[in-house]
């Protein structure tokens, strides 16, 4: 799997947050989501079939997270650290190139 394009210095973020409390608990440094991975509660995961994919981008547009980005060739890449398994991408895909399967270890 390709690396997430959302790069941040995890250590720096963690340090900043534990060192100072801002009024209203405002987070000044973007990138806290790098620390808080939101994909861990997923029950179903999208399984992608590259051969069927027409590169229409619909899944990419509809993903609410957004946990889908596109590789150099324009194929969708799923970031399972943040995919919450909602299944919207699978529903939107016009050629059934995405199917939701039960999450396994």
């Amino acid at each position: 799997m390709a690396e997430s394009p959302f790069k941040a210095d995890i250590e720096r973020v963690q340090k900043e947050y534990s060192e100072k409390m801002t009024p209203g608990a405002i987070a000044y440094i973007p990138g806290s989501s790098v620390v808080n991975k939101t994909g861990s509660w997923r029950v179903f995961m999208p399984e992608f079939n590259r051969d069927k994919c027409t590169r229409c981008f619909l899944c990419y547009i509809y993903c609410p997270e957004p946990a889908i980005y596109l590789d150099e060739e324009g194929y969708p890449v799923f970031d399972y650290d943040y995919c919450k398994g909602c299944g919207i991408c699978a529903n939107e895909c016009p050629v059934d190139a995405i199917v939701m399967v039960r999450e396994t270890k």
């Binding site: 947050y17 534990s18 409390m21 801002t22 009024p23 209203g24 608990a25 405002i26 987070a27 000044y28 973007p30 806290s32 808080n36």
Partner: protein, 394 residues
């Protein structure tokens, strides 16, 4: 020149909002506060107030829009009452936790069921643990003044908390009284432009507001709300002093009336304070050593002032229009807490009265006095008393 005119507390609240020049007002009408957003929308439509007036489909949305606007860094105002305030409850916590200095005018009204549109304080009293500042107005002038004061305190860097200003349903919201409208320039000088220190929208400097806090941070976040409430005590005194200097009207967290050499001091809030002062005059004529005190500020609770007050009396008689089950009224809880560790303390007697718009008459106050005198004379007395209760229909 300030204009002296007559108006309802609802209009006074709308005028206060106009003078404070909020940039966003989001509101949903509810009896008895409907006139507040109506009047403000008139100001906006006439071009007298340069603000965004957002009509929403519920109070939950109203306060949510206020939170959004305030988080974006502008002065924000709304008005509500009763079920409307209750519907805001969830977001009321959010506003305090996010430290957004929103000001809300509350036309204090009873909560359902049974449906009742008249006055008591149960609505705002029920929000006392949210972290918001709470002011209670005795008359329409105070409704106007306290809203201006609330903005100034709320926006102070040492405080940064939302504030509600309560004024009694119908007794004030719909009753015409003389009100002095201060000069716009004077209010501008008093309030100044709202400059958000921590909250603003700047694409070049993205921030996250209302974030998730893990157990490692949540407690500290709550503590800062506690601390801000404590800081507000001093700030309120400063703002009261400045208000008096500029506008000539004096405010105190706990306002006393004929308390020197008093044995029994009646303590209340809101419009009832007027009745009680008159009652005290009446008692003094009969040689009863009674005094009165009114809480203008309920949150932060003026513990120091209450302790000072307690030194002056043998009996503190609390007159309150709310119920805290198993306790009596909320004031009884607060006063008991404030006095519990004093070596010498007066007896505290609680009176629940005037719920749901029931008139509070001298006859009711006589009933309270009789019980307070029992306490004074060392006789047995009930701690919590429902006054004016029609026991015959129970």
């Amino acid at each position: 020149m300030p204009i002296r005119t007559v108006m309802k507390a609802n209009e006074a609240a709308a005028w206060a909002a106009k003078l404070a020049k909020p940039k966003v007002i989001a509101a949903f009408p509810i009896t008895p506060s409907t006139l507040v957003p109506e009047k403000i929308s008139e100001f906006v439509a006439n071009g007298e107030l340069d603000a965004e007036f957002i009509k929403v489909e519920s109070e939950h949305s109203a306060i949510s829009a206020c939170v959004g606007a305030s988080a974006a860094g502008v002065r924000t105002f709304t008005a509500t009452a009763s079920q409307g305030l209750a519907l805001m409850h969830e977001v009321i916590f959010i506003a305090a936790g996010m430290r957004l200095p929103i000001v809300v005018a509350v036309g204090n009204r009873a909560l359902s069921a049974p449906i009742n549109i008249w006055n008591d304080w149960q609505d705002s009293i029920s929000e006392r643990d949210t972290g918001w500042l709470q002011f209670y107005a005795e008359n329409n002038q105070e409704a106007l003044d306290l809203i201006l004061i609330a903005f100034k305190v709320a926006e102070d860097e040492r405080v940064l908390l939302p504030a509600m200003v309560g004024f009694d349903a119908f007794i004030l919201t719909h009753t015409v009284e003389p009100v002095e409208i201060p000069d716009q320039e004077a209010v501008d000088e008093f309030l100044g432009e709202y400059e958000p220190k921590y909250a603003y929208l700047d694409p070049a400097k993205p921030i996250t507001q209302g974030t998730l806090a893990f157990p490692a941070h949540y407690m500290e976040a709550r503590y800062t709300v506690w601390e801000a409430n404590e800081n507000a005590k001093k700030v309120i005194d400063e703002v009261f002093a400045e208000f008096e200097k500029r506008f000539g009207r004096k405010y105190q967290k706990v306002e006393e009336y004929r308390t020197d050499d008093a044995e029994i001091i009646f303590v209340t809030m809101g419009s009832l304070a007027g009745t009680v002062k008159e009652y005290v005059d009446h008692l003094r004529e009969q040689g009863v050593r009674a005094g009165a005190a009114k809480l203008t500020v309920y949150r932060p609770f003026p513990t120091e002032e209450v302790r000072e007050l307690a030194k002056k009396a043998k009996v503190i008689a609390l007159l309150e229009k709310n119920v805290t089950f198993s306790v009596g009224g909320a004031l009884f809880q607060d006063f008991s807490r404030a006095l519990v560790n004093l070596d010498e303390r007066p007896k505290v007697v609680d009176f629940i009265l005037g719920l749901g718009g029931r008139d509070v008459t001298f006859k009711d106050l006589d009933e309270a006095l009789e019980i307070a005198q029992k306490a004074l004379n060392g006789e047995e007395f009930d701690e919590v008393n429902w006054i004016g209760l029609r026991k015959e229909i129970l």
